[in-house]
């Protein structure tokens, strides 16, 4: 039938990225490098280069993109996104890649540490003696304990407490 011709059976990695929230603009990239020269991180750490991450994603180098450290180095300054002549939403795209990586079981341990801390203590950063003392010095009231019952409801309603490794556990 003439209506069904375009149906695709295999989804490429770039399709996977563009179907994600934030990843839609991937294919607009023509590798001009404005993002790279705009990037404060890339200038300090050669393992991170937004142009390269986009190129690898376009070429379908899924493993290399997801398992490496690069996508976690973006500092979300949005300089690249502001200046990209093709309106590629580069910072958003990197978030999309991080989400895919997380689902595939690739994430630096600090992210799961944050998640556990949130679920157990209600805070990403635990209250330390240092913080308490500083607050006292500035005349700030002590931090109040988090309402764990309410928080847990929110976390489970939003799916935060579900095991993440959807792809890896398959």
């Amino acid at each position: 039938m003439m209506t069904d011709k375009m149906e695709r059976t295999v989804m490429s990695f770039s399709d996977e990225v563009t179907s994600r929230h934030g990843g839609e603009t991937l294919t607009a990239c023509y590798q001009c490098g404005t993002c790279a020269s705009s990037c404060p991180v890339a200038k300090l750490d050669s393992s991170f280069n937004p142009r390269e991450i986009i190129k690898l994603s376009l070429l379908g180098e899924k493993e290399e993109v997801l398992s490496g450290n690069a996508i976690w180095l973006c500092c979300s300054c949005f300089n690249c996104q502001e200046r990209c002549p093709q309106k590629v939403e580069i910072a958003d795209l990197i978030y999309a890649l991080r989400n895919i990586a997380l689902e595939a079981g690739h994430s630096p341990s600090i992210y799961s540490d944050f998640a556990s801390a949130l679920m157990n203590e209600g805070r990403v950063v635990s209250i330390s003696k240092f913080v308490e003392k500083k607050r006292e010095e500035y005349g700030l009231p002590p931090l109040r304990p988090v309402g764990m019952e309410a928080l847990n409801k929110i976390l489970s309603a939003t799916g935060f407490t579900k095991p993440e490794k959807t792809e890896a556990t398959k």
């Binding site: 490098g33 020269s37 705009s38 890339a42 200038k43």
Partner: protein, 810 residues
């Protein structure tokens, strides 16, 4: 109307068709159709003996309607119509159908069913022929004169061509001097010669060698007797019709009499007002009375009224040896009568200051290619020296940045196409003049697609110009040295470079000339999304517009280099000449006509007509009616499909003719399948049916094809009527949206189909029985597939149940 006497001529295409179709059965059928007075059979009717039979039948048997079943109707009907006319019958009383590609070939496997379809096709042609009316030929006068708007390279070339051909040409230029953008460019690629060089007129200008090209000012161009040049002028109104426009032009005062000025320069010496010279990239100043450069045309000074002190000073008046200066000159309105208009308004540089990170407004040493061109030009402000505008010192380190605002979805998504070549040309010119200059070009992709263009890239590499593949993120001034730094990643090296520069040259996008939008409104033309003028058809009619009589050339349709602008200008001149050369416009009256008694002055049709052919005119004090201008009407019928009161018809596709055709097509089935009516536009839709037949693609014979001028003519009541006539499914086949031969017809049809689907639902008819298809001629396979699909759909849905109301109507 006289009593129709119809002659039916059946061609079996050299016995090919009779192997499939039963010609005896068809003949017997046609014989009994009322008004058919003659049937002839032969192997062909569009040339030779067959054609003679038609002539004889008209002359001797006195038939007054001709129905021919012939192969290749789009070709054969031309011969037949011409012959019919010579035999004394109006050529529009002819109906030609194609029994081969529309019947025998696609239904080869089911000859009996094909024969029944052939009968229906013949009946439809006969019924339509009965109702056809003679169509008259109309003649409109065309003045042998043209207005060319824009005195740049394209406008000047078109002017030379048209004056050479004997037309009266009026060339108007908004600026005080001719030459446009090209004249500012200094040098041209790929000829490496001067930008103010044009083709010399070949007509009778004394002392000018004809075969040569020359600078504008010595080409003799301005001395052509049938060329009138108006500078400092702009179009404020265009009225009238193709062939006879009245153009109102506003000519700003020059304050210097063109017939007296001898360009002696005394006035500028005494003028006390000095302002930055915009034309020369503000690299120098000029006086209030000035010329851009010494070699301009006209060689006459002009006063900048925004800065001149006029009678408070008047020093120039006192020194002028010829009394050429007149400070009391007033703006003039000039009225011209011309047969056609050529738009050659060109393009300009995008304002680079929009891209803040390049600091075009902040750093004087960041300039554009056009400003650099002024620097390179020997007549320019620096006499050809490449300097830093900030301190006037020689610039040794020069960085070019490509694609500034072009290929940029935030500003202009398109590639301007010529900027790579401009930068390559400039970089090489700098390198030739200053061999130790350090020149880099930051690019995204280098595009050198013209003849000899790649050589510029080669030569630049040989000369040692550096290429950096990367678009810089920023230009900043070093806080200590004050030097400009271009921050770029060389993507090939994956390395960040901080390129130091004395001078940064931006290659901005090229965008439509100032005032393009206003001019489009004055002329009634459309612009594309990119802001440039829309041509009638980019492939085949690149210099024409949807309005006969108005032509485009040069950068009006897109940025062009000089050779392409030149080609375009010659083409526009040729089309203009062709349009005006006979002094008249001949066209047939296959146009729309309004029944003024029904017209409800609702303004739908004047707004919908893509050609501006319909206007509302007053009849009584409070009533207006739509009237069609036969010259402007192209006969598409989009107005017909739009009129809510059915008050407008096409003379050659009247509703009664269409109903008769439709009812006839649906009156015979002869197949076991449900009848499907395919209403096809005569452009791509109907020819897609041809091509499916030519290629022998198969679809069932229950699919019946009805030709209409444009899908836009189809009315909702006709679609409902098709179901009433017996169709179990209806398909409307039109051109692709951007390929509609009548601009908007296909899209209008699609909207109407959506509306009709809603109505069908109300009537209890499944909306899937109706579908719109858009295709081009070569997509015969798509038509065959669609026909098959609609047949299957109708079969699946089962017989149509019509709700019958008390009056017996659906």
């Amino acid at each position: 109307m006289e009593h129709p006497k119809i002659g039916v001529f059946l061609s079996d295409c050299g016995k090919q068709l009779s192997e499939i179709l039963d010609f005896d059965a068809m003949t017997n059928f046609v014989k009994n159709v009322p008004n058919v007075t003659l049937i002839a059979r032969d192997s062909e009717f569009w040339r030779g003996k067959g054609l003679q039979t038609i002539i004889d039948s008209i002359k001797d048997k006195k038939i007054n309607r001709v129905v021919v079943a012939e192969t290749l109707p789009k070709l054969s009907e031309v011969h037949i119509a011409e012959t019919v006319e010579n035999a004394g019958l109006n050529p529009y009383l002819v109906e030609v159908i194609d029994l081969k590609d529309h019947c025998a070939w696609p239904h080869r496997a089911t000859p009996k069913e094909a024969t029944e379809k052939a009968k229906a096709m013949l009946l439809a042609a006969i019924e339509r022929a009965k109702l056809l009316e003679p169509i008259e030929k109309l003649e409109f006068p065309a003045l042998k004169s043209a207005l060319i708007i824009g005195g740049g390279i394209a406008g000047m070339q078109a002017a030379v061509d048209l004056t050479d051909l004997g037309f009266q040409v009026n060339l108007i230029e908004k600026q005080p001097f001719l030459g446009g953008l090209a004249a500012r460019a200094g040098h041209f690629f790929p000829t490496d010669d001067c930008a103010i060089c044009i083709q010399s007129p070949s007509s009778d200008v004394k002392t000018i060698t004809h075969t040569s090209r020359k600078c504008v000012y010595r080409s003799g161009f301005s001395e052509l007797p049938n060329l009138k040049i108006l500078t400092n002028s702009r179009v404020v109104a265009v009225e009238g019709v193709p062939g006879n426009y009245t153009v109102t032009i506003e000519k700003k005062p020059r304050y210097v009499d063109e017939s007296k000025c001898i360009a002696c320069d005394k006035c500028t010496t005494v003028c006390p007002v000095e302002v930055p010279d915009e034309y020369n990239a503000k690299l120098k100043t000029r006086k209030a009375i000035y010329m851009n450069v010494p070699n301009v045309h006209p060689p006459v000074y002009v006063i900048d009224e925004s800065v001149c002190r006029f009678h408070d000073c008047a020093k120039c008046v006192k020194v002028c040896p010829t009394n050429a200066i007149d400070l009391d000159q007033k703006p003039e309105q000039v009225t011209l009568n011309v047969g056609s208009v050529v738009v050659a308004t060109g393009f300009r540089e995008f304002d680079s200051s929009a891209i803040k990170e390049y600091h075009y407004d902040d750093y004087p040493d960041v300039i554009t290619n056009l400003e650099l061109a002024r620097m390179i030009d020997g007549f320019g402000p620096t006499g050809g020296a490449i300097i830093r505008p900030s301190d006037g010192k020689p610039a040794k380190k020069i960085v070019f940045i490509q694609c500034v605002g072009s290929r940029d979805r935030r500003y202009n998504p398109y590639c301007s196409g010529i900027c790579c070549m401009i930068s390559l040309k400039h970089a090489s010119l700098i390198k030739s003049a200053v061999p130790d200059a350090d020149v880099s070009i930051c690019y995204i992709d280098i595009r050198t697609t013209g003849r000899e263009h790649e050589y510029y890239y080669e030569r630049a590499r040989e000369m040692g110009i550096k290429f950096v593949k990367g678009r810089p993120t920023e230009i900043y001034a070093d806080t200590e040295t004050g030097k400009l730094i271009v921050d770029v990643e060389d993507a090939l090296l994956k390395r960040f470079l901080d390129l130091e520069a004395d001078l940064v040259v931006l290659a901005p996008a090229m965008i439509p000339a100032e005032g393009t939008k206003e001019l489009a409104e004055i002329l009634g033309l459309e612009l594309e999304a990119d802001g440039f003028f829309k041509e009638y058809n980019a492939k085949l009619r690149p210099t024409e517009t949807k309005l006969r009589g108005i032509f485009l050339c040069g950068g009006t349709t897109f940025p062009k280099d000089a050779p392409t602008a030149s080609l375009h200008a010659h083409s526009a001149a040729m089309k203009t000449a062709k349009f005006l050369t006979s002094g008249k416009i001949v066209k047939d009256q296959r146009t729309a006509i309004v029944n003024e008694d029904y017209c409800g002055d609702c303004e739908f049709c004047p707004v919908t007509c893509p050609y501006g052919a319909i206007s509302l005119e007053p009849t009584t004090e409070d009533h207006f009616v739509a009237r069609v201008n036969d010259l402007l009407c192209e006969g598409c019928g989009v107005c017909v499909g739009t009129c809510p009161l059915n008050a407008i018809e096409l003379r050659h596709s009247r509703p009664n003719q269409m109903w008769a055709q439709m009812n006839a097509l649906m009156s015979i089935n002869g197949t076991s399948k449900p009848l499907v009516l395919a209403i096809c536009c005569q452009e791509c839709g109907h020819t897609a049916v041809d091509s499916s037949g030519m290629a022998g693609m198969q679809y069932p014979a229950n699919v019946r094809v009805m030709k209409v001028p444009c899908a836009g003519i189809v009315r909702v009541d006709q679609i409902l009527g098709a179901f009433k006539a017996g169709a179990q499914a209806v398909m409307v086949v039109g051109c692709k949206s951007d390929g509609c031969h009548y601009e908007v017809g296909s899209d209008k049809a699609e909207k109407k189909i959506d509306l009709a689907k809603v109505l069908l639902k109300e009537y209890g008819i499944e909306p899937e029985r109706l579908e719109m298809f858009k295709m081009v001629y070569i997509e015969g396979d798509k038509f065959a597939e669609a026909a098959q699909m609609m047949t299957e759909r109708a079969t699946k849905l089962g017989p149509l149940k019509l709700m019958v109301t008390e009056g017996g109507e659906i």
